[in-house]
Amino acid sequence: MKFWNRFRLRSRGNRLEGDLTDEIRLHRELLREEFERDGMPAVEAARAAARQFGNAGAAADLSRDEWAFPRFDAIAKDVRFALRLMLRHPLLTGAAVLTVAFGVGANTAILSILETVLLNPLGMRHTERIMAARVHVDRLHMKNAPNSATDFRDVQTMTDVFSLVSAAEGRVWTYDNGGEAVRMLGRAVTPEFFAVFDAAPAAGHFFSASDTNAVVLSYSMWQSQFGGDPNIAGRSVNFDGKPYRITGVAPRNFRYPADVSAYSLLTVTPARIAQGRGNNMNMTVLARLRAGVTPQQAIERVRRFSQAQQAADTDEGRDLAKSGYGLDLTPFADFVAGDLRSPLWLLWAAALVVLVTGCANVAGLLLTRSSGRRKEIAIRLSLGATRWQIVRQLLLESLLMGAAGGVAGLAMAKLGVSLVTRASVPGKQLLELVVLDNRMLLYGLGLAMASSLLFGLVPAIQLLRDSQAAVMVRSRRRWFQDAFVVAEVGGAFVLLVMTGLLLRSLWTVQQIQPGFDARNVTTAYYTKPANDPGFERRLKTSLQSAPGVESAALVYPVPFTQGGLTSSFRIRNRERTPGEPEWHGEAYFVTPEYFGTLRIPILAGRNFAETDDEKAPTACIIDCKMADRFFPHQDPLGQEIGMYKGWARIVGVAATVRADGLEEETRPVVYYPLPQIPFFKTAAALVRSPGPAGNLIRETVRRTNPSVPVYDVLSMEERIAEKLGIRRVLAGLLAIFGGISLLLATIGIYGVIAQVVAERTQEIGVRIALGARPGQILGQFLGHGLRSAGLGIALGGVATFAIQKWISGLLYQVKAFDWLTIAAALAAILIVLLVAVWWPARRASRIDPQIALRYE
């Protein structure tokens, strides 16, 4: 009520002031007239009226106070004062704002990514009750492999821990988008799939087991292709030219998998289950935990299940035990995040280190400045300012800096997120979904406010103490500052070591030669047309004759996408020795030009020829690794292996290449002629040409058969770079973070020593006058700086040791506690800090005692 009245009165603005003035003037006039009526002369009457009225100015002032919002006005005054101070120290203010901005920006951007990728996968809610089953085969060094139908059945039997179990597998459809053939990713899912996610349809309903040929559209497909038609249920959509009945639409926030357009019904037949474990591993089994069951209990349950399977005294049990086959259970969030998991946590930790060291630095700077304000504070206190007013003033200053830094930081985060969504790394479909939502903005601002309170409170407390007990506490303040420097140096050291480790790994990996010439090669996938048997031959011929093309080949799959197709194989007239695990190799399906186009040498025998076609007996080429491992003391040529389509005769031996990643040793490889193994729906064109050939491939495919969609067009070098993407991005970002924290530490340590020198100028002058040598003075201050630095480095070393297990998964042929890297980081940090300390220390040693003694 009071507040509102004040506000109302105030909102009338200047009239209030005018009213009061008019009113007071009238009052005094009436008084004067009263006195004149009593017979006083005019001059006398005016004086008497003034006396009677009292102090008009004071009356007006007191009246004004009644309307005012006292607290609000005081704060407004403080804000104005703080802004003036900030503008008077633009360098300090700029440094503080930038530091906060960077810390907050990096943290907010990284947390946004963490949120989308890890904490709240794909923006879906309540996924913490969902677990993904994966397969591991120890003898093949296989981890996180997809499931077979038999695994699905196995998980279904564990009804004590799971209430719902679903299976899903990928589908690739060709969709006619207004005359243009588009490749569309789909997912075939069992009817329980949506229930596992506890999802409700955005329109229509989800299908049941009896709805054959039914599809559920993704929300984005519904919007883009059907305009969000609410009566979508019952309409039909063509995939691969086959009509599917739409039963409903997945909810808007349902984005698993991230790039899927529609879900069709998956029926897991008994025949498929009978194929057994390890065969046809295309499925992802997702299960919902039964109420009251913890993820840990379920994980343990699945582990026991796999152990029991291996221990079973049957042929199958012995087989599983021999190959080390078993199921793993992973929380859905970890399953989705995959390889992005540890890099993201690492980056977040690094960004926090930067923010904290940044805060320490700003606190140090403010502390330095505040020593110059001791007089001001003392005067204000003696004039009657309360402690709270002083603290409020100081905190307000840092909060204003924090707010400015926070806003700038959010702008940086916005920029950072838009950069990240374009990063080219495995798992980029996930990153494309990252947005900076309101909660993240709130987090960023909160972080900025918290950090400004942090760096504002210390100087405020210190100043108040200072103003009470003069010189004695100075050493205490320095203690604070030394602690900040220790923290900064420690943080910088940790980040430098990490950066070093990652850079060494990146460098080591980049030194590895894949064994083929990746330059000037463009690759593009296409979907094979259904009723066009001569398509691939025509496509190859027109690619080869296209202008600018040196050579062209067809292949499935392309190196550096997913790796060859892993399969077990047999060798004619040879039995496995007892106890030897199954033989496994990777298969690639290629046309004869493949080896020439990638410049992979054929070391023995012959290349494939055009005559190795559908009608000819199956041929194959093995790589050196396979020849060395399986035919060490004999000629592999003419031997026969069985992997795809019966026995295939080995006609040649090719050099070994790394085709799945520079870091991984490849498994033995078998090449088959592409025309002889027509099982796969997709293949890729591989073109060597001086310039990029993406458009050429697209155009040629369209001319050859317009119903064939082309997708995933990338140069070979881009594919290799993408595999290195995480390493590059991580090393790059950590290098930036490390550089910034080193800079902060440098500024911090410089500031402390410079201030100590300034405070002790007189003392130093006296000592020099009494005969101290400049070297002694220099040594003393160098020692002071290096002591804090040394402590920081020691603490950083301990921290590095503590977090090494985090980072070891991201390293390649570098140990997490790598002495060379640690020594390099140590040398770098010591040199930089020595320079930072040397400057003020040398100034101290050159102080002229004459000037110093007069110095105040």
Binding site: N5, D19, E23, H27, F53, G54, E66
Partner: protein, 110 residues
Amino acid sequence: MGTTNPEFLKGTLDMLILRTLSRGPNHGYGIALHIRRLSQEAFKVGEGSLYPALQRLLVNGWVKAEWGVTDTNRKARVYQITAAGRKQLDAEVRDFDMVLAAIARVMEGA
């Protein structure tokens, strides 16, 4: 300024103004005049201190003000007591009576 303790006056002045206005709307000078006459010039206080009190009453919503014309045909700001003001006056008078009665009892008992 008079010698009377201003802190004591603050509350009393509010009450006196409300009491004056309860007889009918009046302008600042009129209120001062009325209080001066009735108290027989006992309050030797500058009439200026009336204005902060009037602002306080306005802010509390106990009086409202409008520009009007005096008997002598001059423009003046006329104050009028509100319903809330009357209630406040009643409460203050009651408190005042209680205090007076208490003081009286103490003084008689002594």
